[in-house]
């Protein structure tokens, strides 16, 4: 059974391909696993070898006229070269070996994490960014990291995800009447599909400590004083051995930095040197 990690990256004002390259470097530094990318944008030459497969976005580019380019993400299921796939957001760093995650995930046909952590390793209970979920009783799924096997169930799920993504105004109008999002959200769309298919218990596990990720949105870090950017509140440094320290807390697992300016030349260079690129 082939398995690997797939990222969807489409550049806009932000360089998501560069983020994907950094993420791929972090994966290669800690895991022996295939990584692929779904994109129409060019990959810098020195990073091309990070990806086993560079896949063009199939059919038409549904996000062509959008600044927030999430409209093609439902295509991941249809183009993945793997039998088992973990789909990851590009603005993430994998800071540890996740072989045990694969073992756990193999028990599922699809899996979404339903809880995420702050940088102090506390489970985030704050619903600041999840009001659409709580007020509309939507399943609390995070698409940032999710898993699927090639199977009828996942095919079905992604079929519905395509339908919701392409008609999000219609579906959100029915399922997200309160705290209606300003734009299409993959988390909300996946939650709607989960609700339609009534499969929450099949694709999540509230008791599982992993897979999860550290979610660096500033309002859910347990702070009394919150700034626009989390990087204004706590220091960050990446050691040459790739230990990432945030606010004096060593990070592990998967780190979802969420802010594009986190990707500095210094961080990229540290990874390049560690991987001898």
């Amino acid at each position: 059974m082939s398995k690997g990690i797939l990222m969807v990256a489409q550049n806009s004002a932000d360089d998501y391909v560069l983020q994907a390259c950094l993420c791929a470097m972090s994966i290669k530094a800690t895991n022996d696993i295939s990584v692929s990318i779904l994109t129409n944008d060019p990959i810098p030459d020195k990073y091309k070898d990070l990806f086993e497969h560079v896949i063009n976005i199939p059919w038409t580019d549904s996000a062509e006229d959008e600044n927030w380019k999430v409209q093609n993400r439902w295509k991941a299921y249809h183009v993945t070269p793997y039998n088992e796939t973990i789909v990851m957001d590009t603005d993430m760093l994998v800071l540890q070996n996740i072989d045990s995650w694969w073992n756990f995930l193999s028990n599922y046909e699809m899996y979404f994490t339903s809880h995420v952590m702050d940088y102090r390793q506390n489970v985030i209970n704050d619903t600041y960014y999840r009001k659409a979920f709580t007020s509309n009783k939507l399943p609390n799924v995070y698409v940032g990291i999710h898993y699927f096997k090639k199977c009828d169930f996942a095919h079905d799920f992604y079929g519905w995800l395509e339908l919701v993504s392409n008609n999000w105004n219609l579906f959100y109008g029915h399922y997200v009447k309160e705290n209606y999002p300003k734009r299409m959200s993959m988390d909300v769309s996946a939650a709607i599909v989960t609700k339609i298919l009534d499969c929450e218990s099949q694709i999540t596990n509230a008791k599982a400590a992993f897979p999860t990720f550290t979610h660096m949105k500033p309002h859910v870090q347990g702070w009394q004083t919150v700034t626009e950017s989390w990087q204004e509140r706590v220091g960050v440094y990446l050691k040459p051995n790739l230990d990432l320290i945030v606010g004096n807390h060593k990070q592990d697992g998967v780190f979802h930095y969420t802010e594009n300016n986190f990707v500095t030349n210094k961080i990229i260079k540290t990874y390049e040197e560690a991987l001898c690129l």
């Binding site: 870090q221 702070w223 009394q224 509140r233 807390h249």
Partner: protein, 280 residues
């Protein structure tokens, strides 16, 4: 294995920590049946004020007399306050000077009223502290006791610490010394931004480092619960293990609510009202 309590008592111009230590030692003997060692820079005063001190304390350890530039506001209820010297920089020596293999390190203003700490000796972990504490006022913002600052590391109380003499604990206390010696650096890096050095903060940072810069189980939890009243409250009466406090009222400066509390030990931060009770 030698077991005992260690306490530090260094008087300033208005707070008699030695008097508190005497009070503590007597209650330690009564409720825990343990000897107490006092570490102090005022042995002459101790001998003069308490001629029977050798019966009260198991050992007396002399600390060097130093003037400190550390000042702290000491409240006596919600209205009265004084800025006084705060000599709290000896606690990092606890490991080196303790005469015991198993030590309970206590603040002098911790009023022992039960035998819960006996359980320290029956468990396997070599270092115990309180991470959580319970304010008897029950309305004050206790976020400063959750983390050492808004963005920083978990807060641990240095008020009551159990430790065994182990190589790892030696490293831990040496690390606290290092943090104390370089306090301005750690104060800044850990975003504590406190003018006054606090042992709670130094212990918390050291635990965080010993945990590999993460939350972890390097330090276990002291048995029972740590109850406290701040120096904005007043200890009005103490009959054996029955406390009467005047606890400040929320939004009513200078007004208090009387509460009774009994059968549990309490950390009484109002040193002046504690001294008045001891004097009775």
């Amino acid at each position: 294995m030698d077991k005992g309590v260690l306490t530090f008592a260094r008087n300033n111009s208005q707070v008699d920590y030695i008097k508190q230590a005497v009070f503590l030692a007597k209650r330690v003997r009564k409720y825990l049946d343990l000897p107490t060692t006092i570490a102090t820079d005022s042995i002459d005063y101790l001998a003069t004020a308490y001629p029977d001190y050798e019966d009260i304390f198991d050992q007396v350890i002399e600390l060097d007399w130093t003037n400190t530039h550390s000042l702290k506001r000491f409240y006596d209820g919600s209205i009265s306050e004084k800025r006084l010297e705060f000599k709290n920089d000896s606690r990092c020596l606890a490991y080196d000077i303790s005469p015991y293999d198993e030590t309970i390190l206590l603040d002098t203003d911790y009023i022992i009223s039960d035998d819960t700490f006996k359980h320290c000796f029956l468990q396997e972990l070599d270092l115990l502290l309180y991470k959580d504490a319970y304010d008897l006022a029950n309305f004050r913002d206790y976020s400063e006791f959750e983390y050492v600052s808004d963005t920083s590391v978990d807060f641990y109380w240095a008020t009551c610490v159990f430790f065994r003499k182990t190589k790892t604990n030696k490293i831990f206390f040496d690390l606290i010394k290092h943090i104390q010696e370089n306090w301005s650096y750690y104060n800044a890096v850990y975003q504590i931004n406190s003018v006054t050095y606090r042992n709670d903060h130094a212990f918390s940072v050291a635990i965080h480092i010993m945990n590999g810069y993460q939350s972890g189980n390097f330090a276990g939890y002291m048995p029972g619960k740590l109850y406290y009243t701040t120096d904005r409250d007043i200890l009005l009466d103490l009959q054996d293990k029955r406390f009467t406090f005047l606890v400040e009222k929320q939004h009513h400066l200078g007004e208090y609510l009387a509460i009774k509390f009994e059968n549990y030990s309490v950390h009484v931060m109002n040193k002046f009202s504690l001294e008045r009770i001891i004097n009775v």
